[in-house]
């Protein structure tokens, strides 16, 4: 029975890693397209999303089966819970990559603003965070997970700067409004990508250390007792 259970857990992990590879590839291509302006790279991102969705359902079903048939506890239970949550995060990252690709195509003529606005820098940080989050799931690395949490603040800060920059651009030249509006949404998508990578890191910390770190800073600031 134990061997059977271990095999189920191993299959679940393998499926999540395969799904993560697909999402990583989607995000990589979309951000490369943003960086280079080569919109040809955006082709295939949307069609790949169906494969991600297939994994989403498959993993959800596997988790349900494991919970129903094996009733795992302690670290095994946390693993299944973490996989369920990471699965959702990755599926969203896939959708976001599709959205980024769509905006990249729409802003193909705004190369100068893109370069000036630090969006590329922000996108590379988000992409790096996603890669690290996948990496720390594969290697169960708590240090990597913690490093992602720190990076999220940098991306949030860049997003604010980019927003201000783009609003300023719109104020100075009405012809730039459409491009800048698309870029604000694009930046927002990239910021969400980083958020999901952060959530994945938090899920991995929960799995490895039985510690719920999500919203911790907010609770501390507001003196909210976390003794749930």
């Amino acid at each position: 029975m134990q061997e059977h259970f271990s095999q189920e857990i191993e299959n679940l992990k393998t499926n999540l890693i395969q799904m993560a590879s697909l999402v990583d590839e989607q995000a990589e291509k979309a951000i490369k397209a943003l960086e280079t302006g080569d919109i040809e790279l955006c082709k295939g991102i949307k069609s790949k999303d169906v494969d991600v969705d297939i994994f989403d359902n498959k993993i959800q079903s596997q988790c349900e089966n494991i919970l129903a048939l094996f009733q795992p506890v302690t670290i095994d239970l946390r693993f299944v819970i973490a996989v369920m949550m990471i699965n959702t995060q990755l599926e969203r990252c896939g959708d976001i990559s599709v959205n980024i690709a769509r905006r990249v195509k729409k802003t193909a003529g705004a190369r100068e603003i893109i370069k000036e606005s630090q969006i590329i820098q922000m996108a590379n940080s988000a992409k790096e965070m996603l890669k690290l989050s996948i990496d720390c799931f594969i290697h169960s690395s708590i240090d990597t997970a913690n490093s992602i949490l720190i990076k999220d603040a940098e991306v949030d800060s860049l997003n604010k700067q980019i927003f201000k920059f783009l609003v300023q651009k719109m104020k100075t030249d009405a012809n730039l409004v459409e491009d800048c509006a698309h870029l604000i949404v694009l930046a927002r998508n990239i910021e969400r990508l980083a958020d999901h990578a952060t959530n994945i890191a938090e899920n991995i910390i929960f799995y490895l250390e039985a510690n719920i770190v999500a919203h911790k800073m907010k609770f501390q600031k507001r003196n909210i007792d976390e003794d749930f």
Binding site: Q2, F5, V73, T74, I75, L77, A210
Partner: protein, 249 residues
């Protein structure tokens, strides 16, 4: 949290063989304590020590078991067993007695002869054991005609009739089907409002479902004792974690 039973440095022996080694546990009042551990770890011995049954099977005990501050190891075992009722793995209704008499048996042995009062206690006990609705029209029938799950609830009613303070359960649902098991578990949940319950179980899911606290015994030693939620989510010791995950035992 008020402590109902304080077990201190409990050692239990069968001849020279030490089966419990320096076990100390505080059992809170109106809570359910589950004792888990592999076969032969001393779970049932621990339970039997609590109501002096260990001595009946030829064992000896060192250490103290304080029930509301009184050391029961120095008390009359009969009086102790009135305060700590026990439910066994296999339902054991008295085969020659009716359902009514099974529940009333303990009262008679304890000198209660008033028929009206006895009938009231029998009804109350059967209601508490969630069996009344099923047997109220057949109280004069033999207890052994009931299903296994009903027999076990009859035994619980018999225990409740003498109004104990603590209920000890030794794998009370291991011989029952899932529906009967659920009824026993629901009953445990209800009973803890009025009683302190100690349950020995091999079923990890049952321990996690019904208990507030869990003690893990291994080879006669108390390895870890904590809130059930903690034991089944993030126990302190790897040995406990390996056991509840099914990695050994």
């Amino acid at each position: 949290m008020e402590i109902k039973i304080a077990v201190k440095n409990l050692n239990a022996f069968y001849g020279k063989n030490k089966v419990l080694k320096n076990v100390s546990i505080d059992i809170p009042q109106n809570k359910v304590l589950a004792i888990i551990g592999p076969s032969g770890c001393g779970k049932s011995t621990f339970l039997r020590c609590l109501n002096r049954m260990h001595e009946v099977v030829g064992g000896t005990v060192q250490g103290s078991i304080m029930l509301d501050g009184e050391d029961i190891t120095r008390k009359d075992p009969v009086l102790v067993r009135r305060r700590l009722g026990m439910i066994f793995q296999k339902p054991n209704p008295f085969p020659t007695m009716s359902i009514f008499d099974n529940v009333a048996a303990g009262l008679k042995y304890n000198g209660k002869t008033d028929k009206k009062e006895t009938a009231e206690i029998v009804e109350k006990s059967l209601k508490q054991a969630a069996l009344w609705d099923e047997v109220k029209d057949s109280l004069e029938q033999s207890g052994i005609n009931l299903s296994g799950g009903q027999q076990q609830r009859l035994c619980i009613a018999r225990t409740l009739a003498i109004q104990p303070e603590v209920i000890l359960m030794d794998e009370p649902a291991s011989a029952l089907d899932p529906i009967s098991t659920t009824k026993i578990e629901d009953l445990i949940f209800e009973l803890k409002k009025n009683y302190t319950i100690v349950i020995v179980t091999h079923n990890m899911q049952q321990a996690s479902r019904v208990s507030d606290f869990t003690a893990f015994l291994y080879m006669g030693e108390l390895i870890e004792y904590d809130a059930t939620k903690k034991i089944f989510t993030s126990p302190e010791l790897k040995q406990t974690e390996d056991y509840v995950r099914g990695r050994f035992g």
